[in-house]
Every structure is written in C-alpha cells, then in structure tokens.
Amino acid sequence: MRRLALPLAAGVLLALAGLALVALLRPSTASDAATLAAELRCPDCEGLSVGESPTRSAAEIRRQIDALLADGATADQVRQHFVDRYGEWILLSPRSPLPWLAPIALLALGVAGFWLWLRRAPTPPAPPAPVASGDAASRVADEAEALDA
C-alpha cells in the first residue's frame, strides 16, 4: 500500500495539474451573467470590471447582459454586442489567441533554456576562485566574514 501511495498521489496531482493548465490557458467560455460581467471592462472606471464597479454605466451594462441572455443570446453574442460599441478594449479577457499562446511559448522557451542548462557540457573546473592575488585573497575572505556577521 505504502509503495503504491507515492506514484498514485503523484499521478493524481500531475493529472490535476495538466487539467488545470488546459482549463486555465484558454479564452473564457463562461456564459452566466456574473462571469460575463466580470470579463467586461467598466467603461468609466480604471481597471475594474462591470461586475465590480458601482457606476451607472456598469449597472446599465449588467442590465443589458441580463436582457440579452434572457432574449436567448449566446455569451459570444453578448460579448460582440459590447465590442461593436467599444471595440475589443471592452473585453478584459481577450478573444485573440495571441495573448493566450504567448505565455505557453514563453514557458516552453524557459523550459528549453533550463534543459540546456541541465545538459550543458561540463567545463573544466576553473582554478579555485581567483578573486585577487596573494594576501589580498585572504583579506577578501576575512572581509566577507566580517560583512556577514
């Protein structure tokens, strides 16, 4: 049992991590009013969503979202309704794939760099720390200790 526990738990965690990545790194598909409100920019505030803002415009947009959804509009149609008026700017969660792919590309680049660092050809060990010559070296070491004290 104990022998199985580690690979089992690791497997569960890895699967969850994979799921998380897939679920998180893509444009929203949410369709309920609250989520839509959280993904639309409040037009007359800085950096707040319609869902968070107390302004009248935000209240009106929330009302329009409800009305549009009640009329049977899909989430994408609701987004498009506001994009037609304000442009893509109104969306807090972009529709264009670039902002979603870029982080994955950056991560891949980072992992590749890390792999290269792991697999780098070992260089011949350098002579032990040629920091300064002669008695200067011992002084430097003494100073380092003084600094750390």
Partner: protein, 671 residues
C-alpha cells in the same frame, strides 16, 4: 524665499553627484584613496542637500505656501497637517524628490558601511550609484522641478488627490515601496562594479545577496500594504487588479526573488555568476521601467501621475541603463566563465533554477499584458482588451507550480536525490495534499485554481513542517533540549534556512487566503430604507439612518454617511465629496475577523427619502493575506538578522569544498 533655496539645494546636489560619479571613476582608475574619499563625501553632501530640499517642501506644504506650484496644486489651507506632510509623495514632482532622498540615502549608507573594504569594487559601486543620483537630480533640475513658482499666488488650493487623502495608509505604503525600489539600485551598482572589476567572487555574492534582501523586504511590505490600502479605500471589495502601477511594483519583486534563489545555487555550486549579474541588472531596469510606466502617461492606470515632460527623461534613463549594462555584460562574458558541475534533474539546484524559469516567465507575461494594449494600439491598429481575468488565468498555473517548487526545492539535497529519499520526504505530504483536495472537492470547491493552490500549499507546508520537526527532534534527542528551546536553537543556528522557511510559510498562507477569498466570497447589493436590513452569508446588516455633514478635520469635505448595524455592532459606511474630485470617494467599512471580513460600501444615497444602496461583501480569510505578508517580512528579517554564528556558514560556502553536495541540516542533525 525658502522654496528658491530648495531648488538651489537640488542644483548643488546635482553638482555634488556629478563630482562624486567622476571622482569615484577617476579614483578607481588611479587607485587614489584620497579622490575616492572625496567622492564619498560628495555623496554624503548630496544626501544632506536632498534632505534639505525635502524638508523645505514639507515646510511649504505645512505652511500652505501657494507660491510653489506643487503646493498650489496639491494642498489646501484646510488640509490636515498629516496629509500635508505625506503630500510630499502624493503627486509627480514631490514623489521624485522623495524618491531621490531615499535613493541618495541608500547610496550614502552603503558607501559608508563598506568604507575601507574592497576599494576597487566599492569605487565602481560609488560611481554607479552617483550616476543614478545625477539622473534623479537632473530630472528635478529640469523637467520635474518641484519648486517651480507660480504667480499670481492663489489664496486657496484644491487639496491633495482625494483618493490619497482618504486613508492614513498613504503615509505607509509609498515610503515602503519607494524604499524597496530605490534600494534595488544597490545590487545593480554591485553588478556593474563586478563587471568592470571582473570580480564576481563569493564575497561579492554575499554582499549583493544581503543588499537585495534588504530592499526586497521593503518592496514586499510595500506591495502588501498597497494591496491592503486598495482593499480598505477603493471600495470594490478586492485588493489586486493587475493595474499597471501594481504590475510596476511586482516586476522587480519577481526578478529580485529569482535572484535571491539563484544566488544560493551560485554560492553553493560556484556557477551562475553571469546569470546573477543579469538578474540584478534586470531588476534595476524594471524599477525605472515601472516608474516610467506610471509617470509618463503611456498606459492608463488608476493611480498614474499626471502626464508630464519627464517621460522622455525616464525613457532615456531606461535605454542608457539597459544599453550600457548589457554592453558591459557582453564585453565581460569571456571573463565570467562559470565553474560548472553536472547537475541531476532532481536536485536542489535544478529546483531553484526551475524556480528562476517560472519567475522570469511570470515577469515576461506581466510585461506582455501591461504593454500589449500599447503595442496593439501603435502597430496593430484597433484595440485589445487585457485585464484581470487574463492575468489571473495565465499566472495562476505558474504561481501554483512555484508553490510546488517551494516545498520541494529546499527539501531536496544538493547534487541529486535517491528515489528512497523522495518517497520518504514527499510521500506523506503528497498523500495529505491529495486527500485534502478530494475533501475540498467533496465540500463543494469546484474551481480548479483554488483546489490546486490548496493542494500545493498543503503539500509544501507539510514538507516544511516535517523538516522543522525532524530537526527539532534530532536536537531534543542529541542535546536533551526541551522542544521550544530545541526549535529556537535550530532556527537561530541556521537563520537563512529557517528564515527562508518562514518566508515560504507566509507565502503559503497568502496563497491559500488569496485562493479562498477570490473564489468563495459572496456579495449583494440592496437598496434599503431606514430600519430595513439585508442578509449576506451569516451577517445581517441593518440600515439605521443617513447623515450628511462636513468632516470635522477638513470642513470642505462633505461626508454622506450611512449608519448601520451588523449583528448589533454599530458602524458607518460613507461617500465623501472632495472639492477636487468629480465623483464621490467611497469610504467602505471593513469589519475584520480571522474567519471572514464583512465589507460594506455605500453605493448611492438619496437624502430626500433617506434610502441608500449598500453593497455588502463577505470575504473569507482576507485578513490572512496581510498576516501572511507579515510572516514573510518577519521571516526575511529573521534570515538576515546579524548573527555571529553565521560566520561559520559563510566560510563553508566560500570554500571550494562546498562543491561536494552537503546534506541538509536535518540530516546532519540526525546523523
């Protein structure tokens, strides 16, 4: 008269900084201690002059001297003294003056602290810091003169920015943040000096580490205080919106944190010197980048300063710093050959390095999100919307991965680990985490991000707890000490390790609190007549009456206050009308407890009928974000607290013998 003296002080400060920069460089080339000594004096003089200028500005603000443009724009005769004083950093020019004071202060501190040590290295550190001071004093001499006079002299001014005078936290958050920002020039200066003198040895690394952690502590405290301020003041019930100003503070924090970790590998394994230098350089460049973003009007932001002519100056500053330091780095690349040893995939150094990868990816992602709207606007035409939902979705998996490494990294041995060690160390915590996640799922937590955060935090927390317990138990057995004493001695014998654990523990607490508060908070808006009430979660909020009256300490500010009771406790939430603000400023009431916060904002009030619209939030665990921040700061201070015993650690670290993988302290203790 006095304000003119202030500007004179700045101009002389500029002259002193120019002299210091040149004298340090010449003194370093000629190895002339007398010249270097005079340069150090000049930095001290420029610090005194910056102090004089800042004092004069504070006096001008306190005496409401409206002949100074800055005072005329940011003060009123009715402004309370406390807010007059902190108006020093409430707007653009004053904030640069304050920034300069702190930057020159740090430079003076470091140059005097290491007086007489490492003469070559310190001269170039001095030259770099003085060059930065030249930049700051030039900005104040030309485009951003804080002492610009104005005629005719007004008899009254608009007062400070309403948002900034609404909460005493404005007295705490900017100074902390600025102390962090300005302090990060120190590791940069050491980086540049190391490149010039071709010296990236262990003594150098040890100083740079220490002087990165000191400003890092201030930056961390400043970021947490800023989030807290935003929560207490802005009234939308949240604390982090990925606003460019917030990102500006986060970016150097990320790279500085990456450096603190990579420097440990560099210290143990001897390699990664180039990498370390590149990280401290990026950190500094990102601090100017952040200043540029928030002070040039390039991106829209809540608390961006008014647009001004200093934008091009800061841009020039960024490009010079970036160009010069990258050129220097390229030029010295052949001299920075790392001592390399092959590395196992599962080892502490590879965990630390992968942590660096994640920190840098997050940095790049945040820069991308901040600049993408600008880039699309310029080159792509049209617009793009990038906001909090994108930042959260993209960054949460990366932060969760960091939480995982946080537990794994410090528990792995240097060099590599056997499968048995892995099973022994990570098996039980992994099981605990998996069970906890399943339990949370069963209890109704359906969202992936908080589940993953919870799981990783428990996993990492479990590993740390296990490490600490093993060490303590070993001491109790071996030295017959009582548990608390054994724990304390264990921690103080290796402050770096256990201080680091405390920092990690604080981050885990923050991580769980953020995950829970972001997903499990509930809120309702309700329009109430006097006597009516609304129920949110377990709280019942009753509205009593509306009061409209001027503020006692600033009668020009009209407060519309709803007096309410929550579970019998009287409190008030208000909207304040400042004469210089178009829209009223919310003054939410927050009733904090360890479990959750009751947070009530007044959205609208109708004085005619006495009815009000309240927004009531119940935010679970929010207080643990601030407490976690406190633990992080405590841990970092504990880690660098001067301790005689650490000399021994420094010696083993400096000796080449350290290349052989040493065991973790817990192993040593139990052996």
């Amino acid at each position: 008269m006095l304000p003119d003296l202030g500007h004179v002080a700045i101009v002389i400060g500029l002259a002193a900084s120019v002299y210091a920069a040149l004298a340090f460089a010449i003194g370093a080339r000629r190895r002339d201690a007398v010249v270097v000594h005079s340069a150090r004096r000049a930095v001290l003089v420029s610090f005194v002059l910056a102090g004089i200028a800042a004092t004069i500005m504070v006096i001008s603000l306190l005496t409401h001297d409206f002949s100074v443009l800055y005072v005329a724009r940011n003060n009123a005769t009715t402004t309370p003294p406390f807010f007059s004083v902190i108006s020093l950093w409430a707007a653009l020019e004053g904030s640069i003056l304050f920034w300069t004071l702190l930057a020159v202060g740090w430079a003076t501190l470091v140059l005097y602290r290491y007086r007489g040590m490492h003469p070559q290295l310190m001269s170039w550190v001095g030259a770099t810091l003085a060059a930065i001071n030249v930049f700051l004093f030039s900005v104040m001499t030309w485009p951003g003169n804080p002492f610009t006079r104005v005629t005719p002299i007004a008899t009254e001014g608009p007062g400070p920015n309403a948002l900034l005078q609404n909460h005493p936290f404005m007295g705490l958050h900017p100074p902390l943040l600025y102390l962090g920002y300005t302090g990060l020039a120190i590791p940069f200066a050491f980086g540049i000096a190391a490149l010039i003198t071709r010296r990236t040895d262990d003594a150098w690394l040890s100083i740079v580490r220490r002087w990165t952690i000191v400003p890092w502590i201030f930056l961390t405290a400043g970021i947490v205080a800023g989030a807290w301020w935003s929560y207490e003041v802005l009234g939308w019930g949240g604390y982090w919106a990925w606003d460019p100003v917030e990102n500006a503070a986060l970016l150097p924090w990320l790279t500085a944190t990456a450096f603190i970790h990579s420097s440990m590998v560099a210290e143990r394994r001897g390699g990664l010197r180039t990498w370390s230098v590149a990280l401290v350089i990026s950190t500094f460049v990102l601090t100017i980048f952040g200043t540029f973003l928030t002070r040039s009007g390039v991106v829209a932001s809540v608390h961006s300063f008014t647009q001004s002519a200093i934008g091009p100056w800061y841009l020039a500053g960024i490009l010079i710093a970036l160009g010069a330091s990258s050129a220097l780095l390229v030029a010295r690349l052949p001299d920075l050959r790392d001592r390399d040893t092959p590395t196992a995939v599962v080892s502490r150094e590879s965990a630390f390095l992968f942590n660096n990868v994640l920190f840098l990816v997050i940095t790049a992602v945040v820069i991308l999100g901040t600049l993408l709207p600008l880039a699309v606007g310029i080159f792509g035409g049209g617009t793009i919307g990038v906001g909090a939902p994108w930042f959260n979705r993209v960054n949460v998996p990366l932060f969760v991965a960091l939480l995982f490494l946080m537990g794994v990294g410090p528990a792995l041995p240097w060099g590599g680990a056997s499968l048995a060690t892995l099973r022994d160390r990570f098996g039980p915590p992994l099981l605990v985490a998996a069970v906890a996640m399943l339990a949370a799922w069963a209890l109704g937590m359906r969202e992936l991000a908080p589940l993953a955060t919870l799981g990783m935090a428990l996993f990492s927390g479990g590993i740390m707890l296990d490490e600490v317990l093993r060490g303590t138990r070993a001491r109790m057995r071996g030295r017959r000490e009582a548990a608390p004493l054994a724990g304390w001695r264990l921690a103080t014998r290796n402050r770096r390790r256990y201080g680091g654990y405390a920092v990690h523990a604080g981050i885990l607490v923050m991580g769980i609190a953020i995950a829970v508060s972001a997903t499990l908070s509930s809120d309702t808006s309700a329009t109430l007549a006097p006597g009516e009430s609304v129920t949110v979660g377990e709280y019942r909020v009753t509205y009593d009456r509306l009061v409209v009256e001027p503020l006692a300490d600033d009668p020009r500010v009209i407060e519309t206050r709803a007096e309410i009771r929550a579970d019998g406790v009287a409190m008030a939430t208000a909207l304040r009308d400042y004469p210089n603000s178009e829209t009223p400023i919310a003054t939410p009431v927050v009733r904090t407890s360890l479990g959750d916060d009751l947070y009530v904002t007044l959205m609208a009030a109708d004085p005619a009928t006495g009815s009000v619209t309240l927004r009531v939030f119940v935010n679970p665990l929010v207080v643990w974000i601030w407490l976690g921040g406190g633990i992080v700061v405590f841990g970092a201070v504990f880690a660098i607290w001067p301790d005689r015993r650490r000399v021994g650690v420094a010696r083993t670290a400096a000796a080449p013998a350290a290349v052989e993988p040493p065991r973790s302290l817990a192993e040593q203790e139990s052996a």
